[in-house]
Subunit: 442 residues, 4 copies
């Protein structure tokens, strides 16, 4: 994706029906990206609200560039680029590919137009279809492993951008004093949340990292051993109501609760609430969502929090954040699954149905900050060539988030998945799950 | 206008036919603004390339806001604003009107859409037409002086924004690596330029400032006496060819040619040529224009220069910049007039026809930097109320430019007109006319 | 001096006794500089509180460098520099001399030590004495004009630095929470101030600029004609009490009183009072002075004000700032003279004795902001060589102050003297004298 | 210490002779700090070369403030502070103590003078001596555990500042174009370095963290289990000669070698060599040291490197940085000890004698970057009260360095010691020890 990403590891060899399945998956993923842009005007799609975010149009083009650059350019006979300038314009961060358009100026690219970018997508989709058909039919041997692997990576990459597209457009709309909604608010049942409880995990010598035959990013590998002391994990995410209690207790004014860098961050930006929260003249709290500004719902998960805020809240609550190994180990042992209900554009409360297992909201509501700095697992290796930049070069001063969010495409999450952002990032759907030392263990 | 502007002074009393003329002038000016946006997509109209510039859409809305706020809100019966939020969104700098949307974030206003802004324009135009009709027909007495004066000011204001719209969109397109053209390049006769000559002016006790019965901005008043020593003025603007000689002589590397602040500016920004110039790998110079990037034409006026560059060039050439009083006095005595040829989107050479009088290119090609700091004339007064902010509050650390440019609407210029920008501004069509002490005088 | 300065114009030819007088003047000025450093420790002399200010040690060395570079290096036989590195270390801004130590890092030059800088001063003083003796005695013809002129310039330059040394050390001490005094406060008679009155001046075609046989800087030349409309000037400076009324009337919160750039300045720096003013918990105002922090005395001149503040105050008071030509013309006609009393380190009230003439406090209390942007007089020329940098290159975005201050060395001021600073500068002893259009004139 | 520090854990109970020993240790440590300031003038001691560094005078006062605040204020009868303002002036970062003087303005504190700070030290030393005598003699029971623990912490804290004092003064002197030496260069034997070899470690389930009865900081606790895969560690530090080969191979120009943030750092600062290295006109490399600028010695360890540089070098060399657990585990198994030779102010080559064991230069030459982000060990707890700020609040966006340097006071280092700095820090004596995956293990 356009920010610290992860590279697929492990060849996928696809034959016969598998090729058809991959082709169908390609069409579905590509179509879904366009669908996400549907509620937006061309003007909405061109603007960039901050350097960390990208215009929707840029997401549409960059994900297409990815297929053109890493698949068509390598495998298409008589390859001719759709537009030579796009190689630079829509390169995100791959030094190995060459020059890049400056990230902070993506919002100035009023040309190519949205119409041209749609044409670019259609063109690449057609060429990809031809390539897949030819590769599949050539000798009945199916796709060679390399192509299947690159194709899968490209689709996973596009899914990552589907989530970024939503968080970026949310940030853009939130800057507008008219507070426009991305979509109209659906009717929802009145939420309720079960009490926050603790579940004990024994730990010991465990194994962390992806295991299986499916897709994973390279940063989930190699699977390796780690030793964990006993710990407890909260059964659900911290709610808006609980976070509000922290605010009302003066949490944003008490230096003792914050990391030194977090305290500087709070004071220099004069922060007193999560991103998108607003208190009106009558003292009522509201939250800007993709459904427009809404009254704050106490039972739903607090989100759009930085690591600084998550860490301070945990300290105030007499707990701490989990390590990423603890999170993954717990997920291995607790039968974690995605919620059953349809996709929503805002996190739902643990009581709004669909959650299963003894640990609620592990997937599908909000990314969960861990105390683990993002680093390569022991023995981690980057791929050769430009795709090797997908990952390793971002392993510094970023912190791992686990789980997935309401904006993560269905089927994209995994319990070994490693998302990562700098400690001050707030525009993703980032939430808090508490951990604590085991009170029963040695 | 949206930057340091000038307020109309002097009541205009319009009766009968005069009202019809004003109404017709209103329609023409308003139509022309929309025409300037014609070659652009909605996406082009939404982007903001730097804080100094504004999106085209913002110009379209702000000029409309001006009529709604300063005329309809005062004079329309049962006034209801088109949209309450627009009062803040499209206020440029009038503290007296209340809050303002942050200037640097105008490019994030993807809502209201271009369609809504066009509707806003239509709505205000219709209400203005009603108001004018009613005011005119009420008792046959014609418009009261205040309305005619405000209407004229609003149109002059809109003409200022017509020029800014072009310079802002030029800056935006120039940031795009695709170097798109605003319009296709017209066929042009091969240019040629007469030799630069000097014309002597005697000076003495003279009078400066607007005189007449027409419109002028308040900063052109009061007309007042100044004493001028004899001086000489160049008969045309400095050409690209002459400026190139300055570059090739090392002008950008010689500290001794620059004001101290100018030298810091050159070094911190690592400048070596005017804005929009580019030297290709073969050493050929090109210039980005509203017709796209074009080979540099030696005979045409050098433009998009800061005061720093104009001043350094003059020093290198053994001359100096004129004062604004010298410029105006010379224009009074030299029969200055606008060129006859149709409007162009780039300055033409003095030899490309249309220029008249002994001083060429005084109007219609490029704004000419003077050495005069922008200040109120002796006895200058600002108007009461928010419109008093149009002008006086910008009289600091800005320098006066005289004349007008190829982007100035026909009929908008005047020899007493005072434009002004900070010394480092380059995105306007700014040029150099040299002056020097008289070699014959005492 | 180390900031925008002014170059002596006009050769001085000194013979016989005149040489002795110059030599004696040299000794006095040099001794006085050292005397100003007497109350300070070596540590005090090394620190730099902001980029605009310099350490005392640097002032001591730079003024010595000036004599060594511009006189000894040119005229001394077998010239050997005291220390080759000093040519770079103590060059202020003369590009013609070569490299310069970065201004912002002057406070890091713990070597050479104060002892070495004192030795440098002694060494140069001895060599200057030899040079003067030799030049004088050589053939009885006295000093050639060039040497006398350079010597005079060097001493005027050193006097400028005597004032800067005091304002810079005041700024440094003010940063220290211990609020140390430079000197102990002398016993003073209770101050009183006469009422502020207005004196009318007729104006007309007048002459501005230095006239006489003595020393002046080149920016005071050439004397030239200007036309002035009638105006009135306040008979004394604005007092602390009057300025406090402006504060209490909400002056710092009313955008309508400020230049646009001034309003940005007030808000971005969250200002609400002059530099060095502090209101204690009981509401009492105090002012940090070179005598330490003192209760604010209502009758004394308000000082340490920016042009922004002076301009806003004048607007609030229904007046305006004078132009520099008005100030000088008024001084020509009002018999202005320096106050008789001994030097003080803080401005005194107009009632504290010593002031003479119908315009009080024109010299010796506080520099008076004018509305005139700093520019060369018509026909102004810079000298050839590095000394030509003394002046002209600073003629941009600075405003002229007239008069002199309590920190100006006796004998250094002149009614044609032109001091200048950017509009936001406050650490000099800058004050307000009001002007207004004549109420009786046409 | 004044930056991310570590708090002593574990009570020390001292009786009889132990009290005498502690008192003697107090005198020795305090005397040594003053000795480090001996080669410097008062001017040298007052300057601050960057926000990360502090003036020597500030170090002298702050370490004294530590004893006064955390011991005397708690335990001295009728406690009266030496100077009430010092509580604020010399507080480094303890929010629990109250206000702090802004870090960036420490160099402006010309008062109190060095003489006053020396008096402050003497005063506190005398009061500490009384307190210790009284505590010891009171009832023969020896010091209570709390006092001994605080005293030990204060001395360890002061030793940390002894090292910072040297690195800060080195940075200050390096800014001075005169390149002054802190001390004269001693005569040294010609250096030589053994070949860089690899030593294999088996790993497995190991124990990390301090173990024993002596002093350690709280961040070295609790000792806990970790699982390590087999790895190899280089037997000595990377040398200047080896690092020079990296430079000459274009290491600073190859984006592929750098972390993304590191590459931005290199380009924005235009870096091409370690801090303090300079290549002269003849291509010879020199290094600024506390002995002044010296020719670069190929055999000595490369130091003053950021984590970015260490990481890029390792990648270029086909290796990686060790984790902190690998480093400590290796040190446990390799009989690491401090070198025998006397303290030097610059790292020595592995061949210059004194090193023992199969892993050379583990202690006493340069701090060794690890790939481990600084975080609390499992079960880590901060102390109650202000001293709890010593440590935990810095556990973000910093990386652990292991070992110790030539500037670390003798006896201060430990193999469980955890130093930490941000990835871009270079002014400490920071070096590179390479690691790699075991080529023999699974």
């Amino acid at each position: 994706m356009d920010r610290p990403g992860q590279l697929v590891r492990g060849a996928v060899c696809a034959r016969g029906d598998a090729v058809n399945q991959l082709s169908e998956h390609y069409r579905q993923v590509r179509r879904h990206t366009l669908a996400l842009a549907e509620p937006l005007s061309d003007e909405d799609c061109g603007a960039q609200s901050m350097t960390d975010a990208s215009p929707v149009k840029w997401h549409l083009a960059h994900t297409t560039w990815f297929f053109e650059t890493f698949i068509l350019e390598r495998l298409e006979q008589d390859f001719v680029p759709f537009h030579t300038a796009f190689r630079v314009l829509f390169n995100s961060y791959y030094n190995g590919i060459g020059e890049k358009h400056p990230r902070a100026q993506r919002g100035l690219l009023t040309r190519p137009s949205m119409a041209e970018v749609r044409a670019y997508r259609s063109n690449v989709d057609a060429r990809m279809a031809s390539l897949l058909a030819a590769a599949s039919g050539h000798d009945g041997a199916g796709l060679q492993a390399g192509l299947a692997s690159l194709l899968t990576l490209g689709l996973q990459h596009e899914q990552q951008h589907q989530e970024l597209l939503l968080t970026d457009v949310k940030h853009l709309l939130a800057q507008n004093p008219l507070l426009p909604a991305y979509l109209a608010q659906p009717l929802l049942p009145p939420p309720a949340a079960p009490a926050l409880e603790w579940r004990l995990f024994e730990g010991g010598l465990c194994e962390i990292g992806y295991q299986g035959a499916g897709f994973c990013f390279d940063n989930e590998l190699p699977r390796h051993r780690q030793y964990l002391a006993p710990f407890e994990l909260a059964t659900r995410l911290v709610s808006n109501g609980e976070y509000l209690a922290f605010i009302e207790a003066g949490g944003y004014r008490d230096a003792g609760l914050w990391l030194a860098e977090g305290w500087d961050w709070v004071r220099s930006q004069q922060l007193a609430a999560p991103l998108y929260w607003r208190q009106d003249g009558q003292g009522q709290w509201h939250e800007f969502t993709l459904y427009g500004e809404q009254p704050l719902v106490a039972a739903r998960p607090a989100c759009h929090l930085s690591l600084f805020e998550a860490d301070a809240y945990a300290r105030w609550a007499g707990a701490r954040l989990p390590t990423e190994a603890e999170w993954e180990y717990a997920a291995q042992h607790a039968g974690v699954a995605e919620p059953l209900q349809a996709m929503a554009l805002h996190p739902r409360s643990a009581g709004e149905g669909g959650d299963r297992g003894s640990l609620l909201q592990m997937l599908g509501q909000g990314w969960q900050w861990t105390s683990s700095s993002y680093a390569g697992y022991p023995g981690f290796r980057t791929a050769a060539g430009a795709l090797g930049e997908y990952n390793g070069k971002f392993m510094l001063n970023q912190y791992v988030l686990r789980g997935s969010s309401c904006a993560t495409p269905a089927g994209h999450g995994r319990i070994s998945y490693r998302n990562f952002f700098p400690a001050g990032a707030r525009w993703q759907f980032t939430a808090i799950r508490l951990a604590r030392q085991s009170s029963v263990a040695a």
